[in-house]
Symmetry: C2
Subunit: 312 residues, 2 copies
């Protein structure tokens, strides 16, 4: 891992991803008492930053590996990201999904050309189904967050933001499986050493916060958070990066997340998913700490189910 | 009225308004069978195009008039637009609102520095209250849509869009009080004579459609549309412009509006108000007519009440 690897990654994937816009708002600055820059990955292709890591991971495979396809298990954004990234690169994507996954998520994967294998909704069943595809098709398994090439791809979010605002005091991104925050931490380490990287995590699934305290990867006892992209846990590849380069994690309550999401929708006029609002919620909860600082906030994605959305 | 008046207007107001971005989507292009360019006035200051007309109307007053303030009656976007535009220009804005206006709308006006006068929720009461302010304060009444300087300010939306996409075949904007569509029609007339201008109007409040048929200004019998910005009727200043320069109006049902709004939220990942979706709904309802054409769609604003929002 070195600075050049990040530069190479950005050059590699740039034809296949958007350099997403950075939004600002005087009103939200006044509210937070800080100078905020929002990196809008909700406008990324397929609607989330995961397009970056998926693209990079596939591009780093050998021609031979690419011909045999890629496989992952996910019912969320990574399933869609791998499907679209694979299609863009002429590669077959096999997606293992639980048989109780919402139709809208299955349709999205199919729309991007992914081939779905349904399984029972247990971790064991989905790992078995993925292993079968690896064995039968010779496909390469790609983990949504605990994969170095995925992490490097995700690092390009912060690289782009730091290119526009090189003098940020803080960079904040949500913490789920650890792939985005690890990439963010690497980008700041190499391109903005003055910039502290902070994670935002829902209190209800604070495995990463506890992992950093205990020094070992902790698990979540429940998944009861509206931030459905953050229910997963860290892995052995991203955890050491966080131990080395992350300053700390701020935990937020469910009400904080909904309030922050509402402010983003109402004031920035953009659609972001609950997971995206966690980083902004962390700033609003610690105004004194961020007072008058330049803060980069990564809005990770914008895929929401409008049918179930309720703000009150 | 001439081309130079539009050019002067744009130069005059440009320090006080955003040149809003133009969004595109391959997915929505495929769905519509046309090449769509969305002009995003939801990102305009205070969240709607009305900021443009309000700013221009105030700037065209004499110094003496400006010192005595401006007045309007509105419970919607124009009340906020006039308040903010006035504050930006150091002018006092008196806003007449019905006493049953939602608190969120009153708070928005107050937040932009407008001085509210409450009245009974009848047309007669609000006209009387506005007349009183004109008499007492010497303030100048500014109509939200039936005012030439407001129309010229609104024309800058289409001017900006045509600067980016000069070769549009069609320009479509929603029709309410007629201020936006009249400005759009003037802009196309002077800057893109090849471009036909079309209005989108809810079937439930199709006064403008009927006015163009009958040759006189018609009224609405009900205001039963989700597109709350379009319940008003044309005026004697904008109607002749529409008679001369508008190609035709497409009427859409309530379901069409909600579906179009949903597509914009889900695919463009932006928050637009129902009125904004009417123009896109008109395209989706007439796919054969717009097939393979370059279509500019004006998204008029993004001020929605998330508490009452429901897609299903």
């Amino acid at each position: 891992m070195n600075k050049q690897a990040l530069i190479d990654t950005r050059r590699r994937i740039s034809p296949f991803v958007h350099n997403t816009p950075v939004f600002t708002s005087h009103l939200l600055d006044d509210l937070a008492g800080a100078k905020l820059s929002f990196k809008c990955e909700n406008f990324q292709k397929m609607g989330a930053f995961k397009m970056r890591g998926a693209t990079n991971a596939i591009m780093q495979l050998s021609k031979d590996q690419q011909e045999r396809g890629v496989v992952t298990h996910s019912s969320g954004n990574f399933a869609q990201a791998l499907s679209l990234a694979a299609r863009n690169l002429g590669v077959t994507a096999y997606i293992v999904m639980p048989n109780n996954a919402p139709k809208v998520k299955k349709d999205a994967v199919l729309g991007y050309g992914g081939l779905i294998t349904l399984c029972e909704p247990t971790i064991k069943a989905r790992e078995q189904a993925a292993a079968n595809l690896v064995a039968e098709k010779g496909a390469t398994f790609i983990h949504p967050s605990n994969d170095l090439n995925v992490i490097l791809g995700n690092a390009t979010v912060a690289m782009e933001l730091l290119e526009v605002h090189p003098d940020l005091n803080f960079l904040i991104s949500p913490v789920g499986g650890g792939g985005l925050i690890a990439g963010t931490a690497l980008a700041a380490h190499y391109f903005a050493p003055q910039c502290l990287v902070i994670g935002g995590e829902p209190m209800a699934v604070d495995d990463a916060f506890r992992s950093l305290q205990s020094g070992q990867i902790e698990t979540n006892l429940t998944t009861h958070t509206i931030a459905d992209g953050l229910r997963t846990q860290l892995g052995d590849i991203n955890f050491p990066i966080l131990q080395q380069h992350l300053d700390h994690i701020i935990r937020v309550e469910e009400d904080d997340i909904v309030s922050a999401m509402r402010l983003i929708w109402e004031r920035l006029k953009i659609v972001v998913e609950p997971s995206s609002a966690v980083a902004f919620a962390a700033v609003l909860k610690n105004k004194a700490y961020f007072k008058d600082k330049k803060v980069g906030i990564i809005l990770s994605g914008g895929n929401v189910d409008l049918d179930t959305l309720k703000f009150s």
